[in-house]
Point group: C2
Chain length 297, copies 2
């Protein structure tokens, strides 16, 4: 039994070992910073839901990841952001999607969870819940990397060719034993405006209950059709599978090869971070002193 | 083993036995017509996915139900429709939400499933997939009943007081053994524009795989937090529970009392239609000659 455990991801997908080594190292350094901050807060007794929200805010602020600033561009060259959060201790959840002006989408998801009777709000309905939060022009999210990726997408208009999605997420087990998950993304380069993915879909890309907390990353539609997060929890609860086995069955046997990965934590603070594609930016830490930051195996 | 089986619903919720008996009888007559049509097509060998789409189109066309014409009004007095469909034989699914001008939302959901690489499209992105389908002005959906309900909601602005949601849905097991589910709704009276419910959320209000097909109705947020449809399937697959038992555990033990109900069919054509509220408009038929139309127990 770990006293606390935290994991974060910065996206899974086509991450070739031949990639620009400076980008890999920049992202690894960011992951290390965010996991160290989260570890300090976990050690101080912060709640799971605060831990995952805060970790995702930090990841959203990093322009090398596809969430908040640095998000990918839609087919019409804009940004449409989405996020969700779930507090496993009370089955409370909130998501926000089709966002264009809120600097930190995960903050809105938290407000939908805490302050509305709803689970998923889109566009203005969601943004109006955060009028006191930092708001930005839509092009504030744009970086030169995402512009290049959009131009390369625009040459073929094939979404399947889009590279480096780099969705972000966090899961945590706090000292009180509560679990929470949070995920935030700009989606896929070249997605049509109005496309909603797995990130804000409770049960698919984001899930937490008293059994486990899950944040997914990859081909969103595959996660939605598999209801990935809920599927891992169901195997654990009904088949008494340990977290690592349940997560592995879903990612390696039930989901299509190349579709992505997830980070997960269970009620005892055990962690699992399986993926079925080339790589996944990820980091994990727990109260035993374990610290791990990785892209490939 | 039934050769085929079909069930439909016209919503669950606060349906007091003291309600206007003429409205109850009108809705019962409609349900009988739609289930008879579906039975004839099932007998002729229509596929499960065509069966549920066609049944939901017929239900959308009936102004006494809350889908298509007759949909409830949002807080701003407009209609925002949503629908989803899932083909259990190939884990294909599609949903559409925040729709304002498409006459039959379920047709768009079908197109998202068949013709797009996406699972859920909102607003214009979805509507643009059906430019050749019947389109209407937003107020074409309005009926005097829904106007009265909106006025009564507007007096208190309490969504929880909204009465008679009457979402529609269908599930089917065809002669080839395939399963499918479809659901369509206008949501809840007084919902904020931009609120997305369980109907288009794959796994929550709409689900089909090779084990069962589910269409839910009731308090959407409760279905999203419980991932209701997928939860029923998971119990059947992992615990070997029969459909009736799995559906009953989820509706009566795991979901809050008063939150709604669902219709379900399994691979052998067995049907279940549990609900945890006052009543649920429902009808079912199968190849053994069984025909059932009911509101209360």
């Amino acid at each position: 039994m770990r006293n606390w455990a935290v994991a974060i991801h910065g996206g899974a997908g086509v991450i070739g070992r031949s990639m620009d080594p400076s980008m890999a190292s920049v992202r690894m350094n960011h992951l290390e910073m965010v996991i160290r901050h989260a570890s300090e807060r976990a050690e101080q007794g912060q709640s799971a839901v605060d831990l995952v929200e805060q970790a995702v805010i930090e990841l959203e602020e990093i322009p090398e990841f596809n969430a908040g600033r640095g998000a990918v561009l839609t087919a019409d060259g804009k940004h449409e952001l989405e996020a969700a959060i779930m507090d496993g201790s009370r089955a409370a959840c909130g998501g926000a999607c089709l966002l264009r002006n809120i600097r930190n989408p995960i903050r809105l998801a938290r407000r939908v969870m805490e302050q509305s009777p709803h689970v998923l709000l889109a566009g203005e309905a969601a943004e109006s819940m955060g009028m006191d939060l930092d708001r930005v022009e839509n092009d504030w999210f744009t970086t030169s990397l995402r512009k290049e990726q959009w131009e390369s997408w625009a040459a073929t208009k094939r979404e399947a060719d889009a590279r480096g999605p780099a969705t972000v997420g966090a899961v945590a087990r706090d000292q009180a034993g509560n679990l929470a998950a949070a995920t935030s993304t700009g989606g896929r380069t070249g997605k049509p405006p109005g496309r909603i993915g797995d990130t804000p879909t409770i049960g698919a890309g984001t899930w937490a209950d008293q059994t486990c907390a899950i944040s997914g990353t990859g081909h969103g539609e595959a996660f939605m059709a598999a209801v990935t997060g809920h599927a891992v929890s169901a195997r654990m609860r009904h088949l008494n599978e340990p977290l690592a086995e349940a997560a592995s069955v879903i990612i390696h046997q039930e989901m299509p090869a190349g579709s992505g990965g997830l980070i997960a934590v269970d009620g005892s603070g055990r962690l699992a971070m399986p993926y079925n594609c080339e790589g996944m930016y990820r980091a994990a830490a727990d109260s035993s002193g374990h610290l791990e930051i990785a892209i490939w195996d």
